[in-house]
Amino acid sequence: MPQKIEWQYKEILRQYLMSQTEENLYAGQNLSRQLIKKNIAPEEVISIHKGALENMFPELPMNVWNSFDLLIEMMIRYGLALSEHQNLIQQQEEMNIEIDLAANVQSTLLKTTVPKVNGLEIGLITVPARKMNGDYIYFLSDNINNAGVAVADVIGKGIPAALCMSMIKYGMDSLQDATTDPKRVLDIINRIVEKSVNNDMFISMFYGRYNVKESIFTFASAGHEPALFYNANKDDFTELHTKGLLLGVVPNVTYKQNDVKMENGDFVVMMTDGVTECRTEDGFIEQEIIISLIHSVRFEPAQTIVDTVYKELEKMQNFELRDDFTLVIFKKVI
């Protein structure tokens, strides 16, 4: 095979020296593409060039031949860099495949079912910034009277954040009772997280529970973004605040909870900082913009609201997500 290449190269060189046309240069480039495919190193190419010249112009001065030896020496490292580069690209491809598999495992592992209770619409969207999601949604419901949702966010993103999430899932799995108070939920999860997580890993979490019979939404927060409450009657938004430490900081925390009564058309918007910290080139997208976005589709079904908000914010950010993005809406309907 190398002999064939030598012959091909010599032919192209001969043609080119006879007439310096673009066509002959193009032939040269095509050959170089083949050489790269066959892992022919740059120093080899120079050696082929030297060989071809020796054959065609044996009378050239010694200085010319010697200069090629220096050039060959110079190219050895370029050849090494090239093969290292090719190897690293291959490794990267393998790693990407592995991460894809891990992301699949993650989404199966962290799967949660959106509950169905009368008089409540639930909209949910969660989009990872990279392949693996550091936001986590868990629904806890008896499918009759109570629908609860946990929205958690590991500070940080990617694989470490994603690994951390499985822990929250198993904590939540241990709570079978959908009537459990939000503050209790946070107490329990906090204890689990505190035991199993490094000090440099922080998780914020919001837990909200809607009770169908009383139309009351009860919520507690561990250092999480406040939720937004839309009051249809007054046509305004308020923030649902409760104070509470991030999960995993200290073992025994007593969280607080608050209630809000929901009327028809009212809804609660829960989110992670991937929503509130959306950024364009000009800086953060103001909360008013997000609110007015939600307001413009307030009469739509909950799922349409979250989908619309995501699409618009994605557009504003030029389709570049900087952080995992999660939005959940509980909307009271008749």
Partner: protein, 133 residues
């Protein structure tokens, strides 16, 4: 086994001497210009590693012939600190980012066969072979 010659590595100048020895041997054995340059580069890397990490060591060049093939073995030995994580120094991207240049993976690429033995606190022996194609 064929002839064997060696260069002690103590200073940066000895790297040049080792290169010279390797190139002469490679030429005499019958390697082409490109392979001469590859063998010399491998010697250069090994000698540099000795000079930088062990301070003192030796490069030996040996001609070999086996089943009708002829070639060259480079042996780099030192009594330096040894390599704590061999897998790491074999990795691409590790040596270059550390400023070593081609490093151990480079030597492996340039040669046909590569063996590394290292004991922490006692030293390292690397044997790299190249055959005439």
């Amino acid at each position: 086994m064929g002839t064997r010659s060696s260069v002690v590595i103590l200073s940066e100048w000895d790297i040049v001497a080792a290169r010279q020895l390797g190139r002469n041997e490679a030429r005499e054995v019958g390697f082409g210009t490109v392979d001469q340059a590859r063998i010399t580069t491998a010697i250069s890397e090994l000698a540099r590693n000795i000079y930088i990490y062990a301070g003192k060591g030796k490069i030996e060049i040996e001609r070999i012939s086996e089943r009708g093939s002829i070639g060259i073995i480079i042996t780099a030995s030192d009594e330096g600190p040894g390599i704590p994580d061999v897998r790491k120094v074999m990795e691409d991207g590790f040596s270059t980012s550390g400023g070593l240049g081609a490093g151990v993976p480079g030597v492996r690429r340039l040669m046909d066969d590569f063996k590394l033995d290292t004991v922490l606190g006692e030293g390292t022996i690397i044997k790299a072979t190249k055959w005439i194609r």
